[in-house]
């Protein structure tokens, strides 16, 4: 299994530039998060990564082969999204779920019917019902079953829990990890429910306004997230050379969100408390509107 390399991808729709010099690599057998605010360019990027959309500049290669127009390479990548062909192509919508699975089985050269059968039962949907008759949540379930049962090396999940209740989201995360341990491959999960996946992903990519601003292993990333609180003066002194991404002050107590290394040579004052904060807060504060941040 080869690396998937995204190099200097640019995309504009008319005058609006949606992706700006996007470069990163996906390694085999890892679970990635692709995070970004609404409109950051996540879905556009994923569409380009399966050659459903053409970039204006840049390349996507698997190993050393460009994936563009390369059916062999494209047969190893699958994108599950809310705007998939299942929803758009007229005739597909009226097919029964099992016929949709069969059509994909022949295109991708295989399908794990056993796992699909188990997942369909657990989600409580039927193989003999037309896709168009499903509710929003059931459509998501059907797409997840398809995504997890195809024999591809790269699975991209764009909003994989759209419309799912807490129980079904829990079931999905379990099925994903089961599928991953049975057959390791690369997953990219794009979601807004960051708190639900922060320990599940090994690596985090954050796309902000068309640029990749974070590309790091989860553990190393969280290791650089420090929450520093205490009396305003003490916190200000301790954090003066540190990279603060957000701060709030309540009475005389200040809380600073630092992203980066602490200064080892500087003693930590007794009155100052240092903790860690989570991925969701990091995401919120580094993708915040810069105008507000610096005001």
């Amino acid at each position: 299994m080869d690396m998937l390399k995204i190099s200097h991808v640019e995309k504009h729709f008319g005058k609006k530039q949606v992706l700006k010099d996007v470069s990163f690599e996906l390694a085999p057998n890892k679970i990635y998060a692709l995070l970004g605010r609404n409109g950051a360019g996540k879905s556009t990027l994923l569409s380009i990564m399966i050659d459903a959309l053409r970039a204006n500049k840049g390349t996507i290669k698997m190993g050393d082969q460009p994936i563009s127009d390369n059916d062999e390479m494209l047969g190893k990548i699958y994108l599950m999204s809310s705007e998939s062909s299942l929803d758009n192509v007229m005739f597909q919508r009226y097919l029964k779920l099992k016929d949709i699975f069969k059509a994909n089985e022949s295109f991708y050269g295989g399908f794990d019917w056993e796992t699909a059968g188990q997942m369909v039962n657990k989600f409580g949907i039927s193989l003999d019902v037309a896709y168009s008759k499903f509710s929003t949540g059931q459509k998501t379930m059907a797409k997840l079953v398809l995504a997890l049962c195809l024999p591809v090396d790269y699975v991209f999940l764009d909003e994989p829990v759209l419309g799912l209740d807490a129980n079904h989201r829990d079931l999905f995360y379990q099925e994903l990890l089961k599928s991953y341990s049975n057959r390791p491959r690369t997953f990219v999960i794009s979601t807004h429910l960051i708190g639900e996946i922060d320990q599940l992903v090994e690596h985090v990519l954050i796309l902000d306004d068309g640029r990749i601003i974070v590309d790091q292993p989860t553990e190393a990333l969280l290791d650089h997230c420090f929450l520093i609180s205490g009396p305003v003066k003490a916190v200000d002194e301790y954090t003066q050379d540190l990279h603060i991404i957000h701060q709030q002050t309540l009475a005389n107590i200040k809380t600073a969100y630092v992203f980066g290394k602490l200064n080892d040579r500087q003693a930590i004052p007794d009155t100052v408390k240092i903790e860690h904060y989570d991925l969701q807060h990091l995401f919120m504060y580094i993708t915040n509107d810069r105008g507000l941040e610096n005001a």
Partner: protein, 128 residues
């Protein structure tokens, strides 16, 4: 079995600490099999690589043993080893903090010793 996680330290360390706690409390008996990496991963929604890293800390410490093709088991003598390590760190982890807090509250040494005695009386099942 119940796990809970916070932001204080990397998750793999918290997994190791909680497995150790279960060995300490007897939740996992010596010689018994513990859940596999994949089972824990699925149950806790944590990446299997992270779970494995946590488990390996305890394998390296000699508290867990991997038996090829069979699974991971609690080592013989693991409980005594945890007790021994915790006795060693008891002073640093508990006594130092208690004394520190007592001083901040202006509690005298005599008063603190009285309180510790009271703790023993009220806790009933004292030391062994």
């Amino acid at each position: 079995m119940h796990f809970s996680f916070d932001q204080t330290s990397p998750i793999y360390q918290q997994i190791a600490a909680q497995l150790e706690e279960m060995i300490f409390t007897g939740g996992f008996k010596e010689g018994s099999q513990i859940p596999s990496t994949n089972e824990l991963s699925r149950e806790l929604h944590i990446n299997p690589a992270t779970v494995l890293k946590g488990m390996n800390l305890l394998v390296d410490a000699g508290l867990l043993e991997k038996h090829r093709g069979m699974g991971t088991f609690v080592s013989k003598g693991a409980h005594a080893q945890v007790v021994e390590e915790r006795r060693k760190s008891f002073y640093d982890e508990y006594v130092v903090n208690v004394v520190d807090e007592a001083q901040k509250l202006n509690l005298s040494e005599e008063r603190l010793i009285e309180l510790i005695k009271r703790g023993y009386e009220e806790n009933g099942h004292a030391e062994n």
